[in-house]
Subunit: 253 residues, 2 copies
């Protein structure tokens, strides 16, 4: 993929346990930070249940719309682990044993332990390229622009670290935060005007309550350090003109 | 809405801060648990950025597909708070001042403080029905089958509590967990057979690593207590037949 300004990605979280509330997802936040550092803009995330039709539809929609798709969850050995077969179906590819993945599992299990259920973890869309799993053995994979990763956070992170070298980002997104104890509604008008003057930047406003005080954190994001610094300085001026003292970064708790 | 067996919902999380990794979402998990208790099945969740076209498209897709949609985020007073206007657009409705919402804000702010930016928080699709916000004043609302809630967790929760009486669920989903120190791959085959014998139940398998040991938590979910108990007993038998002792619930850390 050629380097360009706006490389995009989506995350697809697959698993009934997220939608039932059993499990608090932490993979999205971790992936979001990593992708941001790589200069890849995470544009959308979805959570779907372990239902083939829903996985197929989401994968096909997201892979056509974004440069990269990262799926998490549903690649274990049990009946509810249907991600891998669903991805094959989404791509219209046969779901076949990957010889190198079989070798990894053969090296890991005692003779007789590598049963049919476990061999499903070595079954992938034809042409899949393995993503190593140093934590628990059974690998993830890449097919087309889709990276198929585990749902267990420690395994997902290790797999992503192994996939990192295959990702091409754009210029990294930088951010600077200026905080104030003014309310959002007090600063809203000049803040909107500042955003209008800097269409190349993304200025977000986030209310907080910390150390017994209400305030607003203003986050300026973009790829040009000079533009960000100029907007931050304008923001400090605005805060001072409204009678408050700007705080650099997020206020201490 | 008539009571029936399968009342469904989607959650739409709106905000660049989730997709940039600045903020770890905790609203989805909380809503998932609450909806499950109400007998409403959360079938899908999405995270989109503060971009009108993306919000409109997601709202329209989700509201046509599920009985309820809950949005979180983007209803404050600043330029990046575009959820409410986008919802109006999705419904093809004018975005107008809601007189009762204006009264709430008038009662809250000192004279002169209720500026145009803050009045945006009282601007809603025509016909919106308010959802009170006891935490910070500015209300959420319901329009059609869409509940528009705040992104700040404490405010979102208070709003949901106030919306709860307007929701009609199906029979509550019950769950029972049996754990084992057998690996997923060891129990996968009989587990899949058990799922096949109980198509009315949803049996999930979740590996864990706790107290220095690997194991598997098996979660049986459904609406019929007797069926769940029968499946749990079959599961205990299976675990015993494989040489392990079943543990009720999640194992202690």
């Amino acid at each position: 993929m050629p380097a360009r300004n706006n490389v995009t990605a989506a995350v697809l979280i697959i698993g009934n346990e997220i939608l039932s509330g059993r499990t608090q997802d932490v993979n999205l936040n971790w992936l979001a930070k990593e992708l941001t550092e790589l200069g890849i803009r995470l544009r959308e995330a979805r959570v779907v249940s372990d239902v083939e039709g829903e996985i197929v539809a989401a994968v096909n929609e997201l892979r056509s719309r974004y440069d990269y798709v990262f799926t998490t969850g549903g690649i274990g050995p049990t009946h509810d682990d249907i991600t891998s077969a669903s991805i094959a179906k989404a791509f219209g590819l046969p779901w076949v044993r990957h010889p190198d993945a079989v070798k990894i599992l053969e090296a890991q299990y005692e003779p007789g332990q590598l049963n049919e259920a476990r061999l499903r973890m070595a079954t992938m869309p034809e042409g899949a390229e393995l993503v190593d799993n140093p934590v628990s053995g059974a690998p993830g994979y890449r097919i087309g622009n889709v990276f198929v990763l585990a749902g267990v956070p420690s395994i997902m992170r290790a797999m992503f670290d192994n996939a990192r070298g295959r990702l091409r980002g754009g210029p990294p997104v930088l951010s600077q935060t200026v905080s104030t104890y003014l309310g959002e509604g007090t600063i809203a008008k000049p803040l909107g005007e500042l955003q209008d003057r800097h269409p190349e930047l993304d200025i977000g406003s986030y209310p907080f309550f910390r150390g017994g005080r209400f305030g607003t954190s203003l986050v300026i994001r973009g790829t040009d350090r000079t533009q960000i610094a100029a907007a931050a300085e304008a923001l400090r001026e605005t805060i001072r003109s409204l009678g408050d003292t700007p705080v650099e970064g997020e206020p201490a708790t």
